[in-house]
Every structure is written in structure tokens, then in C-alpha cells.
Point group: C2
Chain length 281, copies 2
DNA sequence: CAGTGGTCTAGACCACTGG
DNA sequence: CAGTGGTCTAGACCACTGC
């Protein structure tokens, strides 16, 4: 499946100008292109970017699964017919994006939410004093979990059609016995066929790790919109707060490899003893 | 001031093992080290990290000022007696940290808050529809600006001593005529000697650009703690909201080059038509 | 010890900018 | 056109891991 044929080596840099050249690359990008194919700029793409795209394809296709080693830099260099340095630069970028993890002396691994020391990869809520480690494990409580038809709003967020099947769940996270986070989440029905409240309740460990191992869905990136709100009656009851208590509303959309949205999550965070921590640079 | 002497070239990699070697580097790091000097690990530091440290020193010392070009990669390579590739890797990291900006064909520049298209470098508040560009310029209103003695809390945040002189200011930002952000900020008195309410009011452009050009203080990094709160009477009046309106409380500490805190800012954001946007990866 | 990633070098050529 | 950053290569050696 990889160009081990073709004796026209060495492939000159001229080949780089042609993204759709069948020699090295079989259209790694340009999936979102449409119309006027010959008019746009040549869109020079460096070799290492093309290699990066090829590695990305192997990740998406599941050739290398989360937690596994990928071939060594030398092997990949031979496979793609480029120098080690070029493969290296491609891997560097993927590692910077947290898709791969380099371990000197051992190899390069596909990033995973499992076997990871951080329990909550995307959760930015921290206790005001100490770290989340010292706080002990959160108590998790699945309130609800059911399948339903996507509303227009949910469908838009998940890039589905209104009425498509979605799975909706609600849970409460408690720290030190105190309800602190109320989360509603929506998942597209098709990739998560078979996910039940029991499975969610029984599983200990990061939810995203469950998604990986059971459904082959790896979350890679997320965007959050944060607001200050007050709870409705249900929410106030579940968090055990008054109806005028200001709460942090955190709406998260999590994406898998190809920037496809795979989860919508709406969290209400109690911030009297915790805060949302962010680093700007 | 730079090691142009010393004919013991080529400096072998062995030199790298000795961070305090007078040959190439005069103690670029290890400023925060204390006690048992000979007991710790050798702390191998790659050449490019040392070069990065030297470049950082030149940035801190003001040898190259915000907005200026730094010497070309070839020049720096000659100056530090290393290959272009090594200088390149050092610059790569500094560019990734937004301290330098590379422009192909022109050179590498010291990052600056001035001459920059983004008005607010660290502000993550976005309108729910459209971008901040389309919203038009914010209306800025300095409410107050005075010098006073640092409270214990303020002093701790700014790494000062209680009672040290600090400058305190309060302002309101309005978008589309609507008061949206109320900010209190504290600056250490000494570096910002001479800053007045008039200067703040008259200056159009990013506040951090003013800090750069007038006081030689460049903000490099910041940390924020976010909560949901309700305003006190003064705050409610200034933002023209009711006393039970939930608001985003954003406490920011901004740091200059050597990770020294140089600003404490406490913002109250109205989030009925705006949201705080964050990207997780 | 072999195999992996990590660093460093030297040299070639490409892409972009501006005189 | 010269000068800058950007890409690519080939080869050497170092640091780390595990057998």
C-alpha cells in the first residue's frame, strides 16, 4: 500500500510542487478543495508535510493504534524514501500536537488517554489549594443516559443532521464528597453504538480512554466556550446550590483526527473552592 | 561580550556536559539552583539550549528591542561558533514561545505587542457571533489610577514586599456602546514610574505596547484563574447590571522574560453576548 | 550490546523579499 | 540580484532503554 515500487529515484524537489503526483504521494491533502482546480496557487507543500499527512493517514486508519509503537525513524525514512531528518520533522510536529509521544531509547508511540497519568486530559478545573492529584479521585455519578434524536442545535455542533440518533448522558462529579461538576454530554449514535449507562458507570478511568478502547474513537483536540450563568431548578438541585449561585458554564466540542466533532459537552462548574486555570502564551 | 576569543576549536560535544564551562557559555541557566552543588545529576544541556539561553539574555538585556531584527542565522552561528542548524533549533523554540517571529526573506524579529494586528494579545473574550474585528474598536474608559502601598495579597502576586509602591488602575471596556469588561490592574511601582491616568487614557493601541515602548517591559506569558461570581455594588453600577448577574471573574498574572510577574489584572466579563474562548490540545 | 530517539555538522538547493 | 529564512540530505556521534 506504500510506494515501494517506482525506480525513479532520487525524487527531485521538483516533485514537491505537484501535490497529486502519484510518485510519492497519493493525494494526501486537498480533500476540502472544490472548483477551479487549475486556477489556485501551486500551494507548495514541503516533503515533511506530506510525510506528516501520510503518518496521519496511518493513525486514522488504525494501522497504528493508541498506545502502540510506530516504526522507527529509520524504518519510516526507508518506507517513504526520504532522509531520517525529514521523517523527524514530521514526527516533531505530530508530537507537538500531542498525537505522538517520543520516548528516547524506546521509540515513538501513538498518544493515548489510557495508561496516562493525567486522569482528565481536557479538564482545566483545579482546586484553589493543592493540585488535583492531592484531592483524591473524583466520585462519579451517572444520572442519566439515553438515546434520542438530535435537535437542530446538537446536530449542528456534531456535524450531523437534525433527527439523527445521538446518545445523551448526564453525570455529576464530586470532589471530596462535594458535588462540583454537572455535565451533560452528547455523542453521535453511530460510532458509539452499544454504549450504555452501565458501561459508563462501571468503567473506572478516563472516559476518553473508554472511547478509545471500546469504540476506536480518539479525541485529539477540543474547543471550549466559557460563560457565567445561574442554574435552573434541576441543575441547582443536582449540585446542591441555590438558584442564584453563579456557575461556570463550559461548552466543549471535542474533535477526533480529521477535525471531525465527536462529542459535545456542557459542564456547570462550581467555583467557590476551584477555578478554571488557563495559560496564555 | 561574546566569546570571540578562545582558539580551542572545534569545541567537542564533551564541552556540552559542563554547563558552567567558561569556553562557550557563562552560566546560562542554573540561577534557581541552591545547595549541594556537586551532588545533583550532570544535567546535560544540549548546545541549542545553551544558544537559546544566550539569545534570551540578549533579549532581556535589550540588545535587541521589540520590533527589531536580530542578526541572521548565519551571523549568529558565527558569533556562537556553532552550525546554522543549531542556531536554527534555538530560534525555532523561541519562535514557538512567541518571543521571536520569523519572516521568510526578511529576517527574524523580536516579537512586539505594537505593530501587531491583534489589538488584545491575551484577551480571550469573543463575541458570540462574528469576531472581535467585526465588532469595531472597544471604547475605553479609565475610571481611576493611583499609587498606593501593596497589600499582602497584591505583593505576593507581584513578588513584591507588602507596603511596596504599586500602581492601581481601573477601567471599563465597552463593545458597541455596551459596558462589557471591568478591569482592575496592579503594576509594580518601580518599573512603571511615571505612568499616569492621562498617559493611559490618551494612548490608543494595546496597553502592553505602551508598556514596551515607554517602560521597556515586554509581557511574554500569562496565567489566568477563572471563576463565576456576582458583582459588588460598585461593580454592578459600572457594568450597568443587576447585583445577581453572574459574571466571569478572570484573574491574570502576566510575566516578562525571566518569568518575573509584572502585572496583576482582575477582570469582570459580561458573558450574555460574549464568551471566553479556549482551545485545548 | 543493539536499537531507539536526540544532537550536531556541512553543504546543497528552494522560496521569498527588496533593492 | 544578494540576502534571508526554509527544506532536504548524509553522516557522525551521544544518551537512553532493555536484553
Amino acid at each position: 500500500m506504500i510506494p515501494t515500487d517506482d525506480a525513479s529515484l532520487p525524487h527531485a524537489l521538483a516533485t514537491l510542487m505537484i501535490p497529486s503526483s502519484p510518485t510519492l504521494v497519493d493525494t494526501p491533502l486537498a480533500a476540502a478543495d472544490s472548483g477551479t482546480p487549475g486556477s489556485a496557487a501551486p500551494a507548495f507543500s514541503p516533503l515533511y508535510q506530506q510525510i506528516k499527512g501520510l503518518i496521519l493517514q496511518s493513525l486514522q486508519s488504525g494501522e497504528w493504534k493508541p498506545g502502540e509503537v510506530i516504526p522507527s525513524e529509520m524504518d519510516l525514512a526507508a518506507r517513504y524514501r526520504v532522509s531520517q531528518g525529514t521523517v523527524r520533522k514530521a514526527i516533531d510536529e505530530l508530537a507537538a500536537e500531542n498525537l505522538l509521544v517520543r520516548r528516547q531509547g524506546k521509540g515513538t508511540f501513538v498518544a493515548t488517554h489510557a495508561e496516562q497519568h493525567v486522569q482528565y486530559r481536557f479538564l482545566r478545573l483545579m482546586p484553589d489549594f493543592g493540585d488535583r492529584q492531592s484531592e483524591g479521585p473524583a466520585e462519579r455519578n451517572i444520572i442519566d443516559c439515553k438515546r434520542l434524536r438530535a435537535s437542530a442545535e446538537i446536530a449542528r455542533a456534531l456535524a450531523l443532521r437534525t433527527g439523527d440518533s445521538v446518545l445523551q448522558a448526564r453525570r455529576v462529579l464530586s470532589f471530596g464528597g462535594r458535588p462540583t461538576i454537572l455535565e451533560d454530554l452528547w455523542l453521535p449514535g453511530t460510532p458509539f453504538k452499544g454504549l450504555t449507562a452501565e458501561r459508563l458507570s462501571d468503567y473506572h478511568g478516563p472516559m476518553y480512554a473508554l472511547f478509545e478502547t471500546e469504540f476506536g474513537v480518539r479525541m485529539v483536540r477540543a474547543e471550549e466556550k466559557i460563560r457565567a450563568v445561574t442554574p435552573d431548578a434541576d441543575q441547582a438541585r443536582l449540585l446542591n446550590v441555590g438558584k442564584n449561585t453563579p456557575l461556570l458554564s463550559v461548552e466543549r466540542i471535542a474533535f477526533t483526527y480529521n477535525d471531525a466533532p465527536m462529542e459535545l459537552r456542557r459542564g456547570l462548574y462550581l467555583t467557590d473552592t476551584h477555578h478554571y486555570r488557563n495559560v496564555l502564551s
